[in-house]
Each structure stands twice: as structure tokens, then as C-alpha cells.
């Protein structure tokens, strides 16, 4: 278990590892008798927090998640609203009918033209730019607010 914990510490960001890994391993040795598995899961939580929250990777993860969500929602919107103009609405609007929608939808009956590609590109790129700009402004205002508080102290 000690080797697993050492590997876990090694996976932490280098700055954190250099500062605290030695002491964390020492504490692990001291309190191993109280439950090594609990300490291992605590280390897993710390690993996730360090990479996602503290290292700034959460911005990338959030942006990518929102981008994927937007593309998925956009795809569903095209399937559902595009379908209405061509065929009768389904009797049972359940998830099982989505495949049927796709077969009968506007996109399925048309070749992938330059116009459709342009529309999709502009839609996705515009959405991504708006999201990144919004996130950047939010992070900047948050950091400025935090700096103001810290500046008052010093």
C-alpha cells in the first residue's frame, strides 16, 4: 500500500510534490495503522483537486465540456426541429424515436453541401468564441477581486 501511495504522490503536480510529498509520505507511515485505504482515497481526492482546481486545468475542462454540450444540443435541435418541416411529428416523442428522426431529417436527405458546412462552422466557432470570452472575463474579474482583498492586507 505504501508503494501505491508513493505512486499517487508522484502523480501530483511537480510544485505540490516538491513541497509536500515528503511530509505526506511521513504522515502516511505514522498513521497507516488507522486505515491505509482511507489515506489512499484521501490522496486520490487531493490528486483530483490539484490537477482540476489548483492548476488551472479546470478552465480547459469546463470549456471543453461546454463545447461538447453545445455541439450535442445543437445536433439534437437540428434533428428535432429540422424533422418537423419534412415529416409528421412522431406519435410517441420518446428517445427511441430519435433514430427515426435522424433517418427522415433534413440533413439525412440532403448531401453535405458547402452551405451546410459553413453554417455549422460559423455556429460552432461563434459559440466557442462566446464561451471562451465569457469565461475569460469571469476569471479576470474573479482574480481582480481576490487581488484587491489581498492588496488591502499588505
Amino acid at each position: 500500500m505504501r508503494t501505491c501511495y508513493r505512486c499517487l504522490l508522484w502523480l501530483h503536480p511537480p510544485v505540490f510534490r516538491r513541497e509536500y510529498a515528503g511530509e505526506m509520505l511521513w504522515i502516511f507511515d505514522q498513521s497507516q495503522s488507522q486505515g491505509a485505504l482511507g489515506l489512499f482515497f484521501d490522496g486520490l481526492g487531493s490528486l483530483a483537486r490539484q490537477w482540476v482546481l489548483r492548476s488551472g486545468w479546470w478552465r480547459v475542462v469546463l470549456t471543453l465540456s461546454l463545447a461538447v454540450l453545445q455541439v450535442v444540443l445543437g445536433g439534437f435541435a437540428v434533428l428535432i426541429f429540422g424533422h418537423r418541416h419534412i415529416v409528421e411529428p412522431a406519435q410517441d416523442p420518446s428517445v427511441a424515436n430519435i433514430a427515426e428522426f435522424a433517418r427522415n431529417s433534413v440533413i439525412a436527405h440532403q448531401p453535405l453541401t458547402v452551405g451546410i458546412l459553413m453554417y455549422l462552422t460559423v455556429f460552432v466557432t461563434g459559440g466557442l468564441v462566446i464561451m471562451v470570452l465569457g469565461l475569460t472575463f469571469w476569471v479576470k474579474s474573479f482574480a481582480a477581486r481576490r487581488r484587491r482583498v489581498l492588496h488591502k492586507v499588505r
Binding site: 505540490f16 509536500y20 511530509e23 489548483r54 488591502k152
Partner: protein, 116 residues
């Protein structure tokens, strides 16, 4: 000049316990864990991952700082931490907030429930 502690409030349970453990004296990581367990009578146990993750955050925020050097009789490899004056202010503000919550709760619990 009064400082604005509101961006730091409310403190998370881990942060509150760490600041409380450092309120009376400088301690190293393991001593903080033991003090947290003692203060909470064993109900709240802090692991080393949670502890150092929070200590790193608190040092970045200026609430905690590394103590210059450990006491002479102690292991020199251990790092000691102490509360800054700003950290003490944040802790006091959160304790006042919790105190108000407890007073409100007691007042509400004393009042008999009216039937609707």
C-alpha cells in the same frame, strides 16, 4: 481600516478546522491533523492529502504562512505553519458568522411550532 473578509466566507469545514488548529500555536502538518481530531473529539478526521491541499490554498491566499524555523528540539525536515493576522481576521469573522447562525437556530428551536 476595516478589512473585507466576505470573499473568504463561509469557510469550508477543513479550512475552519485547520485555521482553528493554528490559532493558538505554530504546528507542523501531523500536529495539525492530531489537533483537528482532538478539537472535534474524533468526529472530523483530516487526511494528509486534504490537509496539504488546503494549506497550499491558504498560503496562496495569505491566511497561513510557513513558520521561519521549527523549534530546536524538533525534526528539522518538518515544516511549521502559522496563522497570519489576516488569517486570524478571517477566522474571527467566520466564528462570528457561525455564532449568529447558532443564536438564530436556538431562537427558532425554542419557539413552539404553530399549526398551519
Amino acid at each position: 481600516m476595516t478589512e473585507d473578509y466576505s470573499p473568504f466566507l463561509p469557510l469550508s469545514p477543513a479550512t475552519l478546522h485547520i485555521l482553528l488548529a493554528l490559532a493558538d500555536e505554530d504546528r507542523h502538518g501531523y500536529a495539525i491533523m492530531q489537533e483537528v481530531a482532538r478539537q472535534s473529539e474524533g468526529q472530523y478526521k483530516l487526511g494528509p492529502g486534504t490537509l496539504y491541499d488546503n494549506l497550499q490554498k491558504l498560503m496562496t491566499q495569505g491566511l497561513v504562512e510557513a513558520s521561519p524555523k521549527p523549534p530546536a528540539h524538533d525534526d528539522p525536515r518538518r515544516r511549521y505553519f502559522r496563522l497570519t493576522s489576516f488569517g486570524r481576521g478571517v477566522l474571527s469573522a467566520d466564528v462570528s458568522r457561525l455564532d449568529a447562525v447558532v443564536r438564530q437556530a436556538r431562537a427558532h428551536l425554542r419557539t413552539p411550532r404553530r399549526a398551519t
